[in-house]
């Protein structure tokens, strides 16, 4: 049969062709579709991607060693050679900020993973088992929550001392109540579903139910918390390092770089400006991305 070629027919054909595309739509593909339509979320994602690239290729990007001191070039204002200037030890601030990306992102990742494996797991257990287990876990979490999170983290670092593992432990510990509460809520939303009941009815083990039925179904919400907590840990880490309770020099963490420049805020403000901007951009990007993820995975929350 000869095909009729009119603009209207073409339009209809095109539409049909588009409709024939993958008929399967999983929750995550739906979420990605919604995410793609959200310009601010995409900006966040792009910035985060750039930051990850900077972190990976830090040795190639940074023109100097981040801890190499050069007393001939102390406190130089930004120039072509030293894009962000140099500090009081003649260290290149641009290189320090670039390496700082690597340190900040990796430490934040460690903190977040640790927080999920401690507080998150507690929340999942509390949410799944309910009853007395739930009550005991959540009451203990309430006790933890009586002190502001950052204060708890600082108290722990005070005891353990400054350093990366200590900081990760402190942030993990301090975030336990929030993590537990969030993950518990995520599990509770899935728990009432029929498929959980049928999984129980056919005699699956509890571990199996949690791992292969509950977590995959709650994973959208958990991803939101994961990305959100990356930003929170960068925020806490830099705040704590800045006031001297967190990481130890010469780690090129952004908060510590700011702490180094503290004394020169009036004479050499550029020493603080660039690391400060970097923290701002990073935290904001992670939040934009996290916010986009939340709208994407859970449109009802908007």
């Amino acid at each position: 049969m000869a095909k009729i070629h009119t603009p209207a027919m073409e339009k209809i054909e095109k539409r049909n062709a588009r409709r024939k595309k993958p008929a399967v739509s999983t929750p995550s593909s739906e979420a990605w579709k919604r995410f793609k339509r959200n310009p601010t979320a995409l900006i966040g994602l792009a910035v985060v991607a750039v930051l990850i690239l900077i972190a990976i290729f830090a040795p190639l990007i940074a023109p100097f060693d981040y801890q190499q001191q050069n007393y001939a070039e102390m406190m130089k204002a930004p120039s072509i050679k030293h894009l962000f200037g140099t500090d009081q030890f003649g260290r290149d601030i641009f290189s320090r900020v670039v390496y700082g990306t690597r340190y900040s992102l990796i430490i934040a990742l460690f903190c977040t993973v640790a927080a999920f494996f401690s507080g998150g797991l507690l929340g999942i257990i509390a949410g799944y088992f309910g009853g007395k287990v739930d009550m005991v876990i959540m009451r203990i979490m309430d006790i933890f929550q009586a002190i502001p999170m950052i204060m708890m983290a600082m108290c722990i670092v005070a005891v353990l001392g400054n350093g990366i593992p200590q900081l990760v432990a402190a942030i993990m510990f301090a975030s336990m109540p929030t993590m537990a509460r969030n993950n518990r809520a995520a599990i509770l939303r899935v728990r009432g579903n029929d498929y959980i009941e049928s999984a129980e009815a056919i005699g699956l083990s509890r571990f199996k139910i949690i791992v292969s039925h509950m977590i995959p179904n709650a994973v959208g919400v958990m991803i939101i918390y994961f990305v959100g907590f990356l930003a929170v840990s960068i925020m806490m880490m830099s705040s704590m390092s800045y006031i001297g309770v967190g990481l130890a020099a010469p780690t090129p963490e952004w908060g510590l770089i700011l702490n180094d420049g503290k004394a020169y805020i009036t004479t050499a403000p550029y020493m603080m400006l660039f690391p400060a901007l970097m923290i701002m951009i990073t935290c904001f990007a992670f939040n934009l991305m996290g916010d986009g993820l939340r709208d994407a995975f859970d449109p009802r929350l908007k």
Partner: protein, 323 residues
């Protein structure tokens, strides 16, 4: 009501026991000898030993813990290693300073947040809505101390209009309050927005429209008043964050508040002060939350059932966590 208040106050006991147990446990695993620290490196072994005996450091941890708790019950939060003064009398004058900053911050945050929340609810899904959300989120996501540094660079270093540190003049309060306040704007904006949208869909709003009320009247008298309830309840939950943020900012701005006291004590490894400070903040937070809840029941008796059974608080908390 009285029964409820007593029940809530009784909850303080496990909280205080728990908080002090955590810090006590941490303290015992810390290397270093507080007695040596107080006396300095010049002291002889005998002097240090005598000091240890005096401080009761040779007793088992559990005995020290029970002794400390007994002291707290009598209003004794320990003695600062550094000054030898009771922790409570060192903190008391600082509480007022911190309270001023926290109150100012909550006022700024709530005012701006509610205003922006109304704006974005009325202009929902327009560019105004998105801009408001993005800006308020910016201040929520960026650490307060970075905002503080930028403000110092602008207003103290460049323009010389505000002091960079200290609260010798009332002007010194402006930047700390602003920094803490701005970070809580986003939370209030979100809650106000969603609560306004919910209320605007209620039947009584339609009724008000049907009887010919002006839009302004509907927004500010009929809708806002009812939409404010969850917002007001979230004040209590956001207080904790404001106090935490205040701790860092007091250090940045050199404000002699409780936060700076605790941070200083942490860096000096002055544990009685850290522990006492943490306990006092925990007590203050719990009591403030209780007062907030009770005052809402006074204002709006409808809340009696929800607050006292606890579901409304959980809802507010959930909303806060989601924000």
């Amino acid at each position: 009501m009285v029964k409820y208040i007593i029940k809530r106050l009784l909850l303080l006991i496990p909280i205080l026991l728990g908080v002090s147990a955590i810090i006590f446990a941490l303290k015992t695993v810390t290397p270093g000898d507080p007695a040596r620290q107080i006396l300095g490196n010049d002291a002889t072994e005998e002097q240090v030993e005598a000091k240890r005996q005096e401080l009761g450091l040779n007793d088992p941890v559990i005995v020290q813990y029970v002794r400390y708790i007994a002291g707290v019950v009598h209003g004794d939060f320990g003695t600062s290693y550094r000054t030898g003064e009771p922790v409570l009398s060192e903190i008391a004058p600082r509480l007022l300073t911190s309270a001023k900053i926290t109150l100012g911050a909550v006022a700024i945050g709530a005012f701006l947040g509610i205003l922006l929340g109304i704006l974005s609810a009325l202009k929902k899904y327009t560019w105004v809505d998105s801009v408001v959300l993005v800006i308020s989120m910016f201040f929520q996501s960026v650490p307060e101390f970075v905002v503080a540094l930028v403000l110092i660079m602008i207003f103290a270093v460049k323009l010389h209009v505000l002091p960079a540190t200290g609260i010798d003049t009332p002007l010194g309060y402006i930047m700390p309050m602003l920094c803490v306040g701005l970070s809580s704007v986003a939370g209030y904006t979100r809650i106000t927005r969603s609560s306004m949208l919910e209320v605007l869909g209620e039947d009584y709003i339609r009724t008000a429209r049907a009887k010919g009320q002006t839009e302004n009247n509907i927004t500010y008298h009929h809708a806002l008043r009812n939409a404010m309830i969850p917002v007001a309840q979230s004040v209590g939950t956001s207080l904790g964050n404001s106090i935490g943020g205040g701790m860092v900012l007091e250090t940045v701005f050199g404000v002699p508040g409780v936060g700076k006291y605790i941070v200083d004590s942490i860096t000096q490894r002055n544990y009685p002060s850290v522990l006492g400070g943490a306990l006092i903040i925990a007590i203050a937070l719990t009591v403030i939350n209780l007062i907030v809840d009770i005052s809402f029941v006074m204002i709006d008796p409808r809340l009696k059932t929800t607050i006292i059974s606890g579901s409304a608080r959980k809802k507010a908390k959930k909303a806060q966590a989601a924000a």
